[in-house]
């Protein structure tokens, strides 16, 4: 088999990890959304490479959906949301950037060591699995970390979507794409989740005059 395709996949996967780190270090909400869009485009490219390199044609649907929904649809919805709620476009951290980046570095190491037994247990470990699986686990963990450490509800949506990208990537790396029906289900899920969370954020903003989810504390009796 041609070595270009696995090489390109590795490169793009690395780029996805870099965008994830950029999201962690970024300070502007709009930049967040754009980075997510970029990340999704690269994810679509990875999926496309899997189609070309491994002949898994059914992933083509996922490619189209990834590009349409994650790279275009959801970013547009989120940008409009950010415009409409008119909140300060900066990000509130509960953990500052430096420490966040350090934690993310640690998460990547953890992800690598976690992926180790999975990789070694596979009879034929393709290049794709060895490089991409640790990255996808890192992306998932970092997504969860973003959700945990940022205050604004919008950033939590981005965290969730990043996690989902990680899940998709790991699906690609281990099984060359999950069964069609699962993929469709996940896409539908994520779309609805993004829309609902968007509406939710809008409502929170209307009710509390802020999207700082700390204020939800008041709901506690």
């Amino acid at each position: 088999m041609d070595q270009t395709v696995p090489y390109l996949i590795d490169l793009l996967a690395a780029a996805i990890l870099v965008t994830t780190f950029l999201i962690v270090s970024s300070r502007s909400l709009i930049f967040y959304v754009r980075l997510f869009s970029l990340q999704s485009i690269m994810l679509g490219a990875v999926a496309l490479l899997v189609v070309i390199g491994y002949g898994e044609t059914h992933i083509l649907v996922s490619v189209v959906l990834t590009l349409l929904v994650k790279a275009v649809g959801i970013p547009i919805v989120l940008s409009r949301l950010i415009d409409r709620i008119k909140v300060p476009k900066e990000i509130d951290f509960s953990v500052n950037t430096t420490i966040s980046l350090l934690v993310c570095g640690f998460l990547v190491i953890l992800a690598n060591s976690v992926a180790e037994p999975i990789i070694s247990s596979r009879p034929v470990s393709t290049a794709m699995v060895t490089k991409v699986l640790p990255i996808s686990i890192s992306v998932m963990l970092i997504g969860l970390f973003i959700m945990t450490s940022r205050r604004k509800a919008v950033t939590q949506i981005i965290g969730l979507l990043t996690m989902e990208n990680g899940v998709f990537l790991s699906g690609l790396s281990i099984t060359s794409g999950m069964p069609m029906i699962v993929e469709l289900g996940i896409f539908f899920d994520i779309l609805v989740a993004a829309l609902i969370l968007g509406v939710f954020v809008f409502r929170i903003n209307r009710t509390f005059e802020t999207v700082d989810s700390d204020t939800l504390r008041r709901l506690r009796h």
Binding site: L107, L110, V114, L144, M147, R150, R151, S213, L216
Partner: protein, 689 residues
Amino acid sequence: MLYSLQSTNLFILSLLAYVIGAVLGPILAPRKAPASSAGRRLAGYAVTAVFLVSAIASLASLVASYMVLSSRASVDVSPFPLTPFGHLTFRLDPLSAFFLLVISLVGFAVSIYSLGYARSFLFKRHVGLLLFLHNSFLLLMTSVVTVTNGVLFVVVWEGMSIATYFLITYEHESQPSRRAGFLYIAMTHVGTFFLILMFLTLFSHSRSFDFDSFRITASAMPWGSKTLVFFCALIGFGIKAGVIPLHIWLPEAHPAAPSNISALMSGVMIKTGIYGMIRVFFDFLGTGLPWWGFAVLILALGSSVLGVLFALMEHDLKRLLAYHSIENIGIILMGIAVALIFHQAGNDGIAIVGLVAALFHTLNHATFKSLLFLSAGSVVHSTGTRNMEELGGLIKRLPYTATFFLVGAVAISALPPLNGFASEWLTFQAFFRGFDVAELSVKTAMPISMALLALTSALAAACFVKAFGITFLGTSRSRHVQDIHESPWNMLAAMGLLAAACLFFGIDPSLVISRLQPVADFVLHRNPSGALSVDVARSISANPTVNEAPVLVAVLLLGIAAIAIVAIVVLRGNRRSRVVPTWACGLEGLAPRMQYTATGFSKPIRMIFSSVFRPSREIDVREPMSPYFKPTIRVDLKTEAIFDTHVYRPLMNSVLAALRVLRKVQTGHIQSYLAYIFITLIVLLWMAL
């Protein structure tokens, strides 16, 4: 063969009839009164018909269980061969059949009683719901004593608890009802927790939830597991039975339910706890450690003495009866304790006497307690109050109810020739026989237990002198007693049936004992045709002290009474009697307020047992403005609920304090909740490395 076939069919018939009743009830009984009088009459007939269905169901299972008891052979019934749980088999072995007999006897009487009782509040309350719950309650109790699988047992047990909960909160608009319901559901869940723990422990050794497999493996379990199972059963079933100190739900819950249901709960439902104990202690575990029996004995004595003492302080008729249920559960447990002690020691002769006494008292308590609750229900139904201090003189207006209540009261006070005496006498017999054993611990425990049982019976008699005297004798104390009339015939018929049963079991106890002995044989895993068994049978039924005693004592008492009457007649000579007003110490006439009150009656006992009751009195005297008016004096008398204040409150407070510390975890930040997930994930991944 034909015999067992018939009982099988009857049992299936009764299950089906309960289901039909539960389904038809809510459909047929309308919530709102129909516009036309014909519609109203039709609705009344529908309610009657559904209660008749449940009566038929109980009658069918009554006959089925009696057949099984007589034939002394177990019968398996699998009406639904295919269920998600596998084979759903009901088994009528002698023990199940006996408890089924108790359930169906009381269930039959209560269904007849409810014909009249429920019609009185048709259209005022949701009678359809009552019909549904009544039938499901009976169905689930029937299932509890007949299922043969641990998982199914827990399922029907929980179902029974939930049905009871809705029956307790049937009058859901009243705050005490809801409180009682909450207390009940909380306590019963604690009990279910222990039962699940018990079944899981049994399962861990037998690898199956079948009762048969428990029977094989449980007796060979290590002592640690056996003791765990014993304690779980004692607590889990003890809560349902209302053993002190696990009783706190009982005096709240029983009065809160409608009276026909109180009769079922107090007469039958708490007995399912006894069923569970016998099933686990003897049938599953076989022999136990020596101190198990003593542990049960201590609980039994505590329940009976404290139960009756608390009952003495109650002026609420139904609460008083509820406390007496605790007392009688204590007496039943005494028999079980004797059986445990002597079965462990290998002296099955005495163990069987104890077990038969416990079973007999279970049957007797079911009859007389439901009789008492039904007649108390009639009183509450016609007067609208449960407070004895507002009643009085009811014997003139409710003569039949009063008679039936009196029969129940005499039975529960263990006076011959009624059935309460027969079984308490048998319990005494068990203690007496235990006295002959050389072992010192037994030799000391038996006389003490005997003394406490005697004390209990005496106090119970005092309590019912109070209950009957204040409620039915004297003159009426309040306006509640004006304008009341006797209950309809079907309510009276139900009470009459139970009263007849009380009398019947009391006059010829040997008939019952001879049927119960195979049950005890079965429970103790003894061959019914074995030599020892025959010997015990002879020693029980041929022993004049057991068998003939009630009749003998009755004859003696009647003799004494006859002598007294003769003496009175002789001493009086032929002086003529005059009818004059009661002498009121020279005052003008008698007012109802001058009568002896329930509080006054129980005062001596309150003083003697002041360490238990901790009575406190507040007297508030308001001096009048002018000397022409009398001062107003308010007296507040309180007795302390010691278990509530000294056991449950501190326990609850410490649990709440612990939870308050735990609550700091709930910060209200979404981020911290996410962080919990995140940290857990990281830690788990770290550990997996």
